[in-house]
């Protein structure tokens, strides 16, 4: 299958005696948009962190575009062309919006003129122009999330991994983030870990449900939502 960009086989992770992730087989195709949902402790964040290289899996394999990336350090995975956003907004607080984006651009453009051009491009695309010389520490939560998305898209990734991009966002911000994600999705496959079901409904095509470290179900949005088991373990409380 040439269009598979990410594959895991038998992926497991134990923390002492706790099995956080249990034998997960997973497949993602080019330009696919996939949401990972599940109750707290279902293993979706552990799965996510194994993919990004922040955690080493105990067993199993991860392949990205054919390369086995199991156990690679995070910077090597990122260098493949994978854009990553962790759960807590992770930006350079003491630097300006422009400097933040520049650091992402400079990773991919050797010449400083090119990096500068790419920086301006991204800032324009996210309409961050008016605040481009403000420090990240002074920005609102939604704006910081937006800058982090900017950092992720600067490298033109072909795979984007996002952990709760909508957490703590106002409804307007959420709409904006949703639009940007769809734009990124035109060229990149995407995995989104998300709690907010409203947000998931607004963007998802296909959903993987995690439960107790395993994949419980993988299907289209509507069928997942109407599945009785899923409603019992997770959605019953919110829907």
């Amino acid at each position: 299958m040439p269009d598979v960009v990410l594959e895991t086989s038998g992926l497991s992770r134990h923390f002492g005696g706790v099995v956080a992730l249990d034998n997960v087989d997973f497949l993602l195709r080019a330009r696919e948009l996939r949401c990972l949902i599940g109750p707290n402790g279902a293993g979706k964040s552990t799965f996510f962190n194994c993919l990004t290289g922040l955690i080493r899996p105990s067993e199993g394999h991860i392949f990205m575009r054919g390369d086995e990336t199991t156990g690679w350090p995070v910077h090597r995975i990122a260098s493949l062309g994978v854009g990553i956003k962790t759960q807590v907004p992770s930006v350079m607080d003491g630097l300006t919006v422009h400097e933040n984006i520049w650091l992402a651009a400079s990773r991919h453009h050797r010449h400083s003129d090119d990096a500068e051009r790419r920086t301006d491009e991204i800032i324009a695309r996210l309409s961050l122009g008016p605040m481009s010389h403000q420090f990240l520490a002074h920005l609102a939560h939604g704006e910081r999330q937006l800058v982090e998305l900017g950092l992720v898209m600067t490298g033109d990734p072909w795979l984007v991994l996002l952990d709760e991009p909508a957490a703590g966002m106002s409804p307007e911000d959420m709409v904006r983030i949703g639009e940007i994600l769809r734009e990124i999705n035109e060229t990149a496959a995407m995995i989104i870990v998300e709690h907010d079901m409203k947000f998931v409904r607004s963007i998802a095509s296909r959903i993987t449900v995690f439960h107790q470290g395993r994949v419980l179900l993988e299907d289209e949005m509507e069928r997942v939502m109407s599945d009785p088991t899923v409603r019992d373990i997770y959605l019953g409380r919110t829907a």
Partner: protein, 328 residues
């Protein structure tokens, strides 16, 4: 900045004697090395004195063995940088947290202090150099004009060499910080995880920056050996380690000028206090440190910069902060 540095370098000997000025320039270079590693790289190194001492010992041992100064100076800096690279790689590839890094660097310094203090006797000889235990190594050939071992550089000439080295190091540090490497280093200081997620190899970059800082400290150490004409284990002492940090905090981290001015002013103050016996100079140093931390938490230079900009240019606050960053 260099345009200001040169006239200052030339005028100062008219005011303060060049023997004192020489050591102030050396302290300034040592402080600048920590300012680079800690202030810009965010690496909490409590053991910059270790590299200062290794540079000094390296020079003394090299000069005794080679019998001339140029090779000894280069070898001292290179050997110290190599040691720092190994130590740095162990710490950064081992993913040590900031606090552990501070402790380890400090412990390395104290181990060197204990070790060098216990090297008296015939068992501790490196080539022609006896390590000499607590008494250290005296009587090594001091700096001379390259290629002419009988033309010693001392007195005023040594001051000009040290001052010129300081200006050169400052210029190189400035270039480094303006380069991509320097900007990425600041990014790593701000958020290591994010820089890793962007694809930068944080461990390698921190190791390199740490090594560069150690090389600068070693150069300062080698020059110090020439100024003092003796090296002793005191170079690795707790006092020395603490002083470097105090200079930087008083002068202001995150600036290049801060550590330099902090070291020079605190060093000169210590020299003045050393000429009287009314108050203990460590007491005064401690008091100054506490006052600065309480009232000028960012240090003297950033505070003065802020005042200068606020008073003369009346820029909007946001722009002012930006300038402050750029100046730094």
């Amino acid at each position: 900045m260099t345009a200001v540095a040169v006239p200052v370098t030339l005028v100062l000997p008219q005011v303060i004697d060049s023997y004192t000025l020489t050591v102030l320039a050396i302290y300034a270079m040592l402080a600048l090395s920590l300012g680079l590693v800690w202030g810009y790289g965010g690496i909490l190194c409590f053991g910059q004195a270790a590299f200062f001492g290794l540079g000094a010992y390296g020079y003394a041992i090299g000069a005794l063995n080679v019998g001339e100064s140029t090779i000894a100076l280069i070898a001292a800096v290179a050997a110290t940088a190599a040691i720092a690279a190994v130590l740095g790689a162990m710490m950064f590839y081992g993913r040590l947290g900031d606090v552990y890094l501070a402790i380890i660097t400090l412990v390395v310094t104290l181990i060197l202090y204990r070790f060098m203090s216990s090297t008296a006797g015939d068992a501790y000889v490196l080539g022609k150099a006896r390590l000499g235990g607590f008494n250290g190594i005296p009587g090594f050939p001091t700096l001379h004009v390259p290629g002419n071992p009988s033309a010693y550089i001392w007195g005023d000439a040594l001051y000009y060499v040290c001052a010129a080295s300081l200006v050169l190091v400052l210029a190189l540090v400035t270039l480094l910080l303006r380069s991509g490497f320097g900007r990425v280093a600041v990014g790593i200081r701000e958020n290591e995880t994010r820089m890793g997620l962007l694809g930068y190899d944080v461990r390698a970059r921190k190791t390199l920056l740490f090594t560069i800082g150690a090389a600068v400290a070693a150069l300062a150490g080698a020059l110090y050996a020439n100024w003092g004409e003796i090296v002793t284990p005191r170079l690795f002492g707790l006092t020395q380690s603490a002083e470097i940090i105090i200079w930087c905090i008083v002068g202001g981290f995150g600036t290049r000028l801060g550590p330099i001015l902090g070291a020079a002013s605190m060093g000169y103050l210590k020299f003045l206090l050393g000429q009287q016996s009314l108050v203990d100079n460590t007491l005064v140093m401690g008091l100054i440190l506490i006052l600065v931390v309480l009232f000028l938490p960012r240090g003297l230079v950033p505070a003065l910069e802020g005042l200068w900009i606020a008073a003369w240019q009346r820029m909007p606050a946001r722009q002012m902060q930006r300038r402050r960053r750029n100046l730094a």
